[in-house]
Structure formats: C-alpha cells, structure tokens
Symmetry: C2
Amino acid sequence: MTVTADQIAALDAADPLAHFRDRFAIREGLIYLDGNSLGMLPKQTLARMQQTVTQEWGEGLITSWLAADWVNSPQRIGDKIARLIGAEPGEVIAGESTSINIFKALTAALSLQKGRNVLLSETSNFPTDNYMMQGLARFSDGRLETREVAPDDVLGALDENVAVLLLTQVHYKTARVRDMRAVTRAAHEAGALVVWDLSHSAGAIEVDLNGANADFAVGCGYKFLNGGPGAPAYLFAAKRHHHAEPVLSGWFGHARPFEFEGDYAPAPGIDRFQCGTPPVLGMVALEEGIDLMLEADMAAIRNKSISLSELFVKLVEERCGEFGFAFVCPPDSAQRGSQVAFAHPEAYAMMQALKAREVIGDFRAPDVMRFGLTPLYTSHADVAEAVERLRTICVNREWDRPEYRERAAVT
Amino acid sequence: MTVTADQIAALDAADPLAHFRDRFAIREGLIYLDGNSLGMLPKQTLARMQQTVTQEWGEGLITSWLAADWVNSPQRIGDKIARLIGAEPGEVIAGESTSINIFKALTAALSLQKGRNVLLSETSNFPTDNYMMQGLARFSDGRLETREVAPDDVLGALDENVAVLLLTQVHYKTARVRDMRAVTRAAHEAGALVVWDLSHSAGAIEVDLNGANADFAVGCGYKFLNGGPGAPAYLFAAKRHHHAEPVLSGWFGHARPFEFEGDYAPAPGIDRFQCGTPPVLGMVALEEGIDLMLEADMAAIRNKSISLSELFVKLVEERCGEFGFAFVCPPDSAQRGSQVAFAHPEAYAMMQALKAREVIGDFRAPDVMRFGLTPLYTSHADVAEAVERLRTICVNREWDRPEYRERAAVT
C-alpha cells in the first residue's frame, strides 16, 4: 500500500514538535538532512552572540569572566546537558573537542584500572575515537595496547586485561543503537570500565547514563544539540569516578586556578576534567542550542524521529526500489538512531546531485549516503520531497554527470 | 625632573600607531590595562561574527566547511600568526587551548628524544604550562620526570637527561624576556629541545622563532592578538620536526580525515598537530584580531610599548614613590615585555579600588598588580591618568575599605 500525500500531511498536522521549526533560521526550499553533522542555527543564537561579543566582551572585557559568568559556563552548560543524557548536576562539563574529551575519559578510566592494559573498541567506530585510543597506546611504549574487534565481537573480547571499552552508543554510519545498560553490565562483570560516545545519541534518542550505571561518556555539541560549527564538546564522569586522575591537567582543572600555585592539585568533582580556558564564544552558542532542545520532550523527539525514519525507508522502497539501494541500518527502528543510510555504488555522485537539487545529506566513505533526521526542524513533508528528488536523480541517472563525480577532499 | 602634561601629549601626538585606537570598541572613560589577559574587541570582529553565524552557519550550513573555507581556517590563521612570530607558512596551526597545545608540543618533542626522560622548566612559569608537564610525567608511570628549577638556574640544569625545556618567552608576572636565541642554543648543545610559550610575547614584542632556531612553540589567542574570550591558541613546529609523533591523534590530524579509515595515519606537515574539529566561531574572531594586528608594524608596537612602560615606571616613582611599591620587572626596558608589575602588601584591595575608579589591570597572587600595555589601543595619556588614580587611592588609603578586601575566587 503506497503512502499518500494526505497521509504525510496528516503526520505533520499531528506533530507535537512542529512549532519548533520556526525557532530555526531555515532557508525556504532547502531540505536539510544533515543536522547530525552540523545542526541548524537557532534564531535565538544570533542575538546571544551579539550580546556576548558587544556587551560582554566589548564593554565588560575581563570583568565578564565573573559578571557574565563565563567562568562557570562549562559547569552551567554541563548541568543542562546532563538533563538530556540521564546524568546528575555536577557530572557533566562542557568544553574542548570530542577528541580531546575522549582522551580525558580514556586516561581517567585508566587511572582507575591499574594492572589492566587493553583499550577495546570496535573496528568501525567513528574514526577519531579509535585514533585517540591508538595515539595513547603508541605513546605508552608498550604499556598499553588497543584491541579493535568486529562490532558483534565486542562483548566476547572482554577479558581480564581490558581496562576500558570505548563504544559509540549510536553508530555514525549504520545508526545501530547499542544497549548501554547491557553492554555496561557485561563490561563491569569483566572488570572493565566503559567510555560511551554520545555524539549521535544525545538530543536524538533517550539516553540514561546513570540508569545504565555508566562510567564515562563524551559527546559532540554541533550535531543534534545545534551548538554551531566546531562547538565545544562535553564529558560525563559518574560521581563515583570523580577521584580519577586527569592527564590533561590544565589550570582550569586546578583546585585553585587563580592562586597560581606551582603544583597541580586537581579540583574536586567534575571540574578536574577541565583543561584550558573555556572557549567562550563557542560556549554561548552551544548553550542556546541546548536551551532550545530542553524545551522539547525527549520522548516526543524520539517518537517523531522513528516516524520520520520509517517513512523515509518506506518511501525509498516504494519510489526508488528498482535502483539498487541497500539499507545499511538495523531494520527495526527501535534499534536505530535518528538517521537512515543507504549504500549504493554511486553514493558519492548521487549525493552531489542531491545537493544540486537542494537536498543536503552526507556521504560517508566508501559508498554510503547518510540522512540525518532532526525532529525539531524536519517534517514528514521534507522526507517525502527528499525521496522524490532522489527518484528524479535516479530516473535521469544524474550521477553520471562529470561535475558530480570529481571527489572533493572534504565530504 | 618631573614629567609634564605637555610631554605626555607630545608623546601621543607623535605616536604612529595612534589611529589604531579607533579600530577597537573602546568605552569612553575606561582605562584598560589588561589587554594581556583579554584583548579588546576589534570593531570589525562583530561584523565578521554576524556573517559567520547568519550566512555561513545559518544559510550555508554544512557546505560552509568548504564554501567558507572553515576546514582550512587552522592553517590559514596559522600562516597569519607565523608572520608575527618569525615562522614560515606551514609551520603554525591554530586551534584548541594553549594548555592542549603545550601537551602536543611536549609529546611531539618527546617522540624525537628517545632515551631522555626529563621535562625541565622554571618553578615560576605560568602555572598551566607546568601543570601540563606534571600531568604528563604522572601518567608516564616513572618513565618521565619533571625538573623545575629557579629561573636563573635553568641553563645550569640542562644535562644529558633533559628531553625538553619548556619556557615562557615573556614571564606572565615579571615581564622578564628570555633570550630565545641563546637559550635555544644552550639547550641544543645539551641535546635538549625547547618548547617556547609565546602567550605574553606574540603581538607584544618582536619574536623570531626561526632566527632563534626554535623547535616548538605555543601561544594564546586572547591576549595581545585580540582574538576574544577563550580564543583558540596555536602551535608552531619547525619544519625539521614535522615527522614528530602526535599523541593527541584526532581525526583532523589524519592524512585523509574524510576517508574514515580505521587506522591513524598522521597528515604530512603541520596538519598532524591538529586534533579535534576546529572551533569555527572562535577561529573567525581570532582571525579578525590577527588581521588587524598585521596592519601594524611590529617594531612600532615594540617602540611604543617601551615608551608606555618607561612612562608608567617613571610616573609611579614620581607620584606614588612614598607608598611602598616594589617594581618586580627587569629595570632595563629591553629586558621586559609589554607590561609592568608592582608588588605591594595591599595589591589585591588596591586593584579592586582601581577597578572602581575605572582602571582595569589585574592582580596576580600573592601580591602583584600587573598592568598590560597594548600599543594598538593604549595611549600615554591613559598611562598618566591611571597613575593619577592610583595616587588618589593611595592618598585616601582606599584599600582599607571592606568591600575591596573580600577576595573573589577569580581574579
């Protein structure tokens, strides 16, 4: 039974999140299915940036560290993120990049795991996660080693040598959702700690770190949280691990940073996971994105995300079934995050053709087209129209055009 | 012989940099002598931020990584910074915090120094520098050790075990300028590499990294470079060291980041010193600050800085001589950077009183008042007026007021 235009309109009419679309700076005509790579601009962010630049920096100058509370922005924003991921106030700190936070989480976990020397992950994890792990192992001069196994072999690879398991909750390419509670339990039973990467889950699905008895987690600010390009990331450390020893021991993680003491003394609580001076301009943009997301109900976000992804899959089958797309995500929508992805030999050129037709998704090497579904600003009509344009491209074999075949360095 | 008002006016009238003052958002009446802690807002930065937020992020979205060249901002801005510090294009990369860049530089240097295990610095170095060194040593489980010696004992502490010497070119408190060429030569003769922290020198004095045969350097974007609160920092690596092995091996330092390969393969050249996704909003603000500074002649900046600091010292002697200030900087202006600092038992409360009188400098524990001299926007008249207000505070013993004596956590 085919999906009708009326059915699509009815889905949007019944959408409890529909009013959020007006809160974003959306360009008419553009179908943006890449909010899991860079989230859209909340309208309120521009005003906040102007205030921060003009008043706080321009007029307040150095006094704004206190007067505008810049100094507590990592904790303040961290506490807001905590509400999205099932953490308590004082368990999350915002700042620096996801990669740096992975390094912090890995080394903090290692400080609690004397006598164990293996860093475990899956081979297809998001590259920077494993790269950070590899760099750490290389630096250890043989003290540490990495173990990267096939996605389904992770639990079986837990043994008495595994210090830390590093996993992404929602896979960046396949959207596969890991069972955080079960994986964490299995890791703990084997004596390992877990570092969860929430980059593709926070703000997209319901995350319950403390419910899963999680140890450490990190995540990205510029995807579903709409924090802006290169937004600061964040780190979660369960309260029971706040005595872990940070390696990246910069002055903002010191117990008394403005006493300018000679010896490092880690701050109590989550503060010791800070390192350098907070990137204020990025922080305030991130805060606006999170404030907006906190207005929405996470269960409603997840429901709409599933509705969008099921519609997407159904329409691709119906409208593009003859063109050889392979759906690379789990078929059960409960098992996948807020994106859909299709493999196709012409994926790269096809994505260029889609962009020319004002549908933005992204290509993930070697042959995957990925479409992010961001319930705050994506409608069912957007999804239907995107699939129609994909069909047009297929019918016309637009991927054969030479201008779409020349591969750019950045995708 | 006392300094007259006419002499001060003549100094400002002859100032070749005077016209730069109009390029900054300066609040009338405020005397800002803290540009070495947070530089002022260039007027052009606000327009650039609006463009980046509204057009590049809001409209261009993910395509701006290429279309607005976000992806090359670390190299592009690095090349501009290179012109301020005597480096070649391709030797400097912007991004992340100074603390993180110190870690990168230290570990990169260590990768070239197999068989040596000592990280050397001076005890009174800026705290975060030594904290990062200490964290690294602690993590090494005995492989590495720190050696922190009195400022004048640094060269004598170079021996066959020293892998890296970490020093700040201009001391954050005393303004003492290290002889980069002589120290680097002595370190090299002892087989050590040097990591220079340029936070208080770049944009304030003439820096010639390659002239000094420097190895690595890092620096801060939010002081003399006027890059905004928490601006990205930068790292310099001499071309001959571009094969060093980064430990913080994030995806932006990969040879082919968008191929999503499983194994880390460092990029050639300076790119391997990148780690996470560049913080775009901070990067564009930093670029405006640097562009503005590049319009000025560095020799003129240094000349004016010396003129301002000599006037400051002379006026404090003349007008506040009886109040017990101890000048803690080198008496020879050629030996000090772009700041003056005075120790006084009442330094903390006195600085609060100055702020109440619209003179902003900063307090550095335990007893130092520090005044930054930023030639692009500070005049000789500012300096004279600041000293007059200091005299008033001293005459009235305003530091006795209880509201100035209560110590804030952040200074």
